[in-house]
């Protein structure tokens, strides 16, 4: 085990996988940084520092710094994958998915299916997402709610450094296309990460972050930390919560969620996406249809409001879920009669 930040867990994993398999290729905007400048290559090493040092180690053929061309990046990832490489493409902010949606949604996600199972597209699309830095409406969004609904894609949302490592390695070794959603606010989060260069986390295997039998809290990404904090507070009052860190939105660990709700009878889902058609509603519907008889109270969903992400500090704070909002939702399920 080694203690490191979430961003370093990602960078190290990419490095190790590029060493292990020469077909792994990285591309994206400023993944190297400084190309064509006086400062020279690696002037920044990736704006999130998740690709520092890769260029020096593997060279320009395998670490491709691109112009600002999301469609070209996403499309090239698809082409590289069909042609036999294992691309790890970065879209600098998940919000930019709008620019290149076709290449992900209509191309990468669908190649295998359309081509009758006769192709593989082992692309990993890394997208930093989420709020917390007051980056406002066009640089703070989460997008898991869209890509989870796209058949053909797998969607991973690590909540801590160890999961970032294990899930990313799994994604790179997976032959299906994977959308790897890193939360930008978690980049500086520190945690223990296994040293094993083959440490992988199987997909569709949620993590039980806290255990208790009174209420189930389901969360992903940055929301997991909020849920854990809330659960710890509630434990002081004798309320035991199962906190389920989904890790992967697609495939979804349905069993973990349903098993927990069958014991607790109460569900709170925390989702950073706005309330219509998000992951919370998806999970609420799953539980309502498959564990209805176990429910003792209506399902509570803790989400932002139906608005874009606002700028001012107080506004972004009010917009986002929080441990207090999660705890309040838990108490609400316990008050129901």
């Amino acid at each position: 085990m080694a203690k490191m930040m979430y961003r370093d867990a990602i960078r190290n994993t990419i490095f190790q996988e590029m060493q292990r398999d020469s077909r792994v290729v990285v591309l994206g905007e400023d993944v190297v940084g400084g190309m064509g400048t006086a400062g020279g290559p690696e002037a920044i090493g990736g704006i999130w520092s998740t690709s520092t040092g890769l260029y020096d180690a593997f060279g320009p053929d395998r670490v491709i710094d691109t112009p600002i061309s999301e469609s070209a990046i996403m499309g090239a990832a698809g082409g590289l994958a069909l042609a036999g490489k294992r691309p790890v493409a970065e879209i600098m902010f998940a919000d930019f998915i709008g620019v290149c949606m076709d290449q992900l949604w209509n191309q990468i996600a669908k190649f295998r299916y359309m081509f009758g199972g006769k192709s593989i597209c082992p692309a990993v699309i890394r997208m930093p997402m989420g709020a917390g830095y007051n980056a406002a409406a066009q640089h703070s969004q989460v997008i898991h709610q869209f890509v989870t609904g796209m058949p053909g894609l797998k969607v991973l949302m690590p909540s801590n450094p160890a999961d970032a490592c294990g899930l990313l390695r799994q994604a790179i070794r997976d032959d299906d296309p994977v959308v790897f959603l890193e939360h930008k606010f978690l980049y500086a989060m520190s945690g223990e990460v296994p040293d094993d260069p083959d440490f992988v986390i199987p997909l569709g295997h949620a993590r039980l972050a806290r255990a208790g039998e009174d209420v189930t809290i389901v969360a992903s990404g940055m929301m997991v930390g909020y849920a854990e904090t809330a659960a710890d507070d509630l434990a002081q009052d004798g309320i035991g919560c199962d906190v389920i860190d989904l890790r992967t939105a697609s495939p979804l660990d349905e069993e973990a969620i349903l098993d927990s709700v069958e014991v607790t009878g109460r569900l709170v889902v925390v989702d950073e996406a706005p309330p219509r058609c998000n992951l919370a509603t998806d999970i609420a519907a799953l539980v309502a249809s498959k564990a209805f008889a176990s429910l003792k109270a209506p399902i509570e969903m803790v989400t932002p409001p139906h608005t874009p992400v606002p700028f001012a500090r107080e506004l972004e704070s009010a917009y986002l879920p929080s441990p207090a909002k999660v705890a309040a939702a838990v108490r609400k399920t316990l008050e129901y009669r």
């Binding site: 294990g166 440490f199 986390i201 199987p202 569709g204 295997h205 949620a206 993590r207 039980l208 806290r210 255990a211 208790g212 039998e213 009174d214 659960a231 434990a235 004798g238 309320i239 035991g240 919560c241 199962d242 389920i244 660990d253 069993e255 973990a256 098993d259 927990s260 014991v263 003792k296 316990l334 008050e335 129901y336 009669r337």
Partner: protein, 478 residues
């Protein structure tokens, strides 16, 4: 006379605000004679037959049997002598207005009336209130709130724009939740050396089962909860089980019985009494041998069948007449002191607990009391107690002795000031006059008083007299 006559919801007693037609006994077009039963009307307390006061023809029935409650004064049917046209009947209907002395007027009258008109007993109508509000509220929610007398000011609307929904009112009717909490549980962290589902991991932690070596049958070879449970509760292991066979609990599904009308009212009244009246309890026991002897003799001599309770009623009534400060009703900040004891006796009936009143029991002879209680009990058990039978009462006697209860504390029935709880007769060892130990039959009493109106000394003195009358029952014939 040749009028069109309106048959409206009658008002039985000052507190009645509404009633329900339980059943019509006549049909439109039918000729009825004076004294014939027209219908059964049900209130919160009783169901009563309504008899025709004159010969007539039933022209129109406006309210169906078994339907919703109608307020007092509401038009239920129209009678005449069969000599009006349909048009005239329709015209009559169009012009009809319920009488002025409706619910509101009646309530005001009760307050102003100096003579203490009998007011509520244990079971009373919850008045259907009228809610005027600008708040958004669904029609169903409004009706429910009015029927149940819920104050919507206390309700936060959960509907769109703060609208109060039916669910919100239902929630206000239910009490607060009190879930049984189990608290947090410690579980080993998932390190993926053993690939087990979160719940399997927790069950293993809690039951001390080791995950190592379990073959997973879950998706992708994951150990799932049933794999762990198979080890915790070995399925069908009939290993020479000598001794106690394992008990396997099945389902313990409750039958859910919501409060009916009467129980709702009783619940509300009793809760109110227990919460609001400062109950004060005085306990006393009396030797009953003499009274039991005299009962036997009196039953023979007078040819009646007085029960032990009848004798207690007689004794209590006599004692109350001597202690009028215990024979009271409390109305707001006024104490109504009654010269005579109208004793409410608790009787079990098919409709639940009812409390008919033995009026002026202090003036009755024991055989008269016996006859009266017999009459009332029979009526109660036939479900035929009338409102008048249960109206009023200045004091209650509640007897659980026949169930072997030694003593208990009863809840006062407002507006009465006190209630006497009577336990069963038990044989007790006592010290006799000559110092030896003998046995006598004793009965335990608890007097609950409303301490706002009756103080300890007053209650104690009443009990002293009661004890004396029971132990020396010849005093009841003085």
């Amino acid at each position: 006379m040749s009028r069109i006559r309106a048959f409206t919801m009658p008002k039985w007693g000052i507190e009645m605000t509404e009633g329900t037609i339980a059943e019509w006994m006549v049909k439109e077009g039918e000729s009825i004679t004076r004294g014939q039963t027209i219908c059964l009307i049900e209130t919160a307390k009783i169901t009563n037959e309504v008899e025709a006061e004159y010969d007539a023809t039933v022209r129109k029935i406006l309210v169906n049997g078994g339907g919703d409650a109608e307020p007092v004064g509401a038009l239920l049917a129209v009678f005449d002598e069969g000599n009006h046209s349909d048009a005239e009947i329709e015209a009559f209907l169009a012009e009809f207005k319920p009488a002025e002395g409706g619910v509101a007027a009646g309530a005001a009258k009760a307050k102003a009336d100096p003579a203490p008109v009998a007011t509520t007993l244990a079971v009373a109508d919850k008045p259907r209130i009228k809610i005027e509000t600008n708040r958004p509220i669904s029609p169903e929610a409004l009706r429910l709130a009015e029927e149940e007398g819920i104050d919507i000011a206390a309700i936060e609307g959960s509907g769109r724009g703060g609208r109060i929904t039916h669910q919100d009112v239902m929630k206000a009717l239910r009490g607060p939740a009190s879930p049984v909490l189990k608290g947090a549980v410690q579980v080993e962290a998932d390190d993926l050396t053993v690939f087990a589902s979160p719940l399997a991991r927790r069950i293993a932690s809690q039951t001390g089962v080791s995950l190592a070596g379990i073959t997973g049958t879950g998706a992708r070879g994951r150990i799932s909860k049933k794999d762990v449970l198979a080890l915790v509760q070995p399925a069908a292991a009939p290993a020479a089980a000598v001794g106690t066979p394992a008990f396997v609990a099945g389902e313990n599904r409750p039958e859910v019985v919501p409060f009916d009308r009467i129980r709702k009212v009783v619940a509300q009244r009793l809760t109110q009494a227990k919460q609001e009246l400062p109950h004060f309890y005085l306990r006393m026991s009396a030797s009953a041998d003499a009274m039991l002897e005299m009962r036997k003799t009196a039953n023979l001599v007078l040819g009646c069948k007085a029960s032990v309770n009848d004798w207690v009623v007689k004794a209590a009534a006599t004692a109350l007449a001597r202690h009028p400060d215990v024979n009271v009703q409390v109305h707001g900040t006024d104490i109504y002191k009654f010269p005579h004891a109208d004793i409410s006796i608790a009787v079990a009936s098919p409709k639940g607990l009812v409390t008919p009143v033995v009026r002026q029991a202090n003036l009755m002879r024991i055989d008269q009391i016996a006859a009266e209680t017999r009459r009332l009990i029979d009526k109660a058990q036939a479900g035929k107690l009338s409102f008048e039978d249960m109206d009023g009462g200045t004091f209650s006697v509640s007897n659980l002795g026949m169930f072997g209860i030694e003593n208990f504390d009863a809840i006062i029935n407002p507006p009465q000031g006190a209630i006497l709880a009577v336990g069963g007769a038990t044989r007790q060892p006592v010290e006799k006059a000559d110092g030896s130990v003998g046995f006598e039959t004793r009965i335990s009493f608890t007097l609950s008083v409303d301490h706002r109106a009756i103080d300890g000394a007053g209650g104690a003195q009443f009990l002293q007299t009661l004890k004396l009358l029971i132990e020396k029952p010849e005093g009841l014939f003085a």
